[in-house]
């Protein structure tokens, strides 16, 4: 069974953090098909967060087809995320490494690179591209 944690300072809403953590666990193979997610009561007893938050997260995961809730029993993983592991995005990795090299040549330090990437990522997300 996985455990959730909450980063109160991240600016990301709690229910999204739970969604991301489930997806991340699925990607890393920590959760596989048939595994049970922690019950709402268990999550809430550890994190001291609103049960509605957990319910919302689980509902969104269910909506995305990743989990299914069985009333009275619990919420269970129904699929694994597409078997794309981090290692298999070879082409994307290479593009990224090339871009990073270019950014360094342009004189950007680590912080500027992160800021630039974050800025573009967020505004693209807002436009619904990412």
């Amino acid at each position: 069974m996985i455990e959730f944690h909450l980063d109160a300072r991240s600016g990301v809403s709690p229910y999204l953090q739970i969604v991301h953590q489930v997806r991340h666990a699925l990607r890393l193979g920590l959760l596989s098909e048939g595994d049970q997610l922690p019950t709402v009561k268990q999550v809430v007893a550890r994190l001291a967060i609103n049960p509605n938050t957990v319910l919302k997260a689980y509902k969104e995961l269910e909506h995305a087809g990743l989990v299914a809730s069985r009333p009275g029993i619990g919420t269970f993983v129904t699929t694994t995320l597409s078997d794309a592991s981090l290692a298999s995005h070879g082409a994307l990795r290479q593009d990224l490494e090339r871009w990073l090299a270019k950014a360094r040549l342009a004189g950007l330090d680590d912080e500027s690179i992160e800021a630039l990437f974050g800025d573009v990522f967020r505004s693209a997300a807002q436009r619904g591209v990412a």
């Binding site: 809430v44 001291a48 967060i49």
Partner: protein, 297 residues
């Protein structure tokens, strides 16, 4: 949605001082409501009115569809934990559970005893010798074991250390998850409320400044940073909550349901803490526009 607490023009006056003025609010059921405001803002007064400890000076208040002063049936449905969590110092923990049995027809003693055991409280210990955190947990146990539909908690964690605070909130959230009880929880600290509440009421200087679901509040409040701008020239659909200016730059905290289309502004998310602080610091001046109606879910 049924309202668990409804007030209309509610006010309470002591002598010449209005502790609460003109409160109109409709709090939906099944939520954990945070009541935030500085000390002396009227949070305790509002909770006492809802719990039937005070009678209104003006206006009306309805709790779970009934009036707080209606009688035992009404008292049975509401659990209350007062500030400083008063307990009978000379009575033991077990005696307090007996108090619950004797005074509440709907008392669930199994739940109470289970909770006491989980909390590792010694039933024979005199309540006066408990630590602050233990007392708060005992008071919460008494309130929840009567199986109420609504829990009113007046600054239950204010004087607790961080661990005790976390444990209290964990216990409270488990109760909400298990029993589906609605909660109204007051505090003058925002941080703890953020993870626990879905609905927020900001009470400052005896008046409700803003109320609504936290997600909606965060979505409708923005920080705008840009070149210096006269607040009077802002669009009418944007309510300015807070404004500060340098000679070159203006930083505004606005509330609006419409998207911000003016490209000269950098738009940022506002944290719940900043939102509350802005309302707490708000003064009546020219920057303020007529208030928008309450944010609906």
């Amino acid at each position: 949605m049924t309202a668990v607490l409804r007030a209309s023009g509610l006010g309470k006056r002591y002598g010449r001082n209005w502790a609460l003025s003109d409160c109109t609010i409709s709090v939906p059921a099944g939520q954990v409501v945070g009541l935030v405001g500085p000390n002396g803002a009227g949070k305790t007064t509002l909770l006492h009115l809802a719990a039937g400890l005070l009678a209104p000076t003006s206006g009306t208040i309805e709790v779970l569809g009934g009036r707080p002063l209606d009688g035992p049936a009404q008292l049975r449905r509401v659990g209350f934990v007062a500030q400083e969590t008063p307990v009978y110092a000379g009575l033991s923990v077990a005696d307090h559970l007996r108090l619950g049995v004797w005074l509440n027809p709907g008392w669930d003693n199994d739940l109470a005893e289970r909770r006491i055991e989980q909390l590792s409280l010694d039933p024979k210990q005199k309540a006066g010798k408990l630590s602050g955190g233990q007392r708060a947990q005992l008071a919460l146990t008494l309130a929840i074991a009567k199986r109420p539909q609504l829990l009113l908690l007046d600054e239950p964690i204010a004087s607790l250390d961080p661990l005790a605070r976390r444990e209290f909130l964990q216990g409270l959230m488990v109760v909400v998850a298990e029993q589906g009880v609605s909660v109204v929880l007051s505090s003058h600290l925002v941080g703890d409320l953020e993870r626990v509440c879905d609905y927020l009421i900001v009470l400052v200087a005896s008046r409700i400044q803003v109320a609504g679901e936290i997600d909606q509040l965060l979505a409708s409040h923005h920080r705008l940073i840009g070149p210096r701008r006269d607040p009077g020239r802002m669009p009418a659909n944007q309510e300015i909550i807070q404004a500060s200016h340098t000679d070159r730059q203006s930083t505004l905290l606005v509330r609006t349901d419409e998207p911000i289309i003016d490209p000269s502004w950098a738009v940022e998310q506002v944290s719940l803490e900043d939102l509350v602080l802005a309302y707490m610091g708000r003064t009546a001046d020219a920057d303020r526009r007529p208030a928008l109606s309450e944010v609906r879910s």
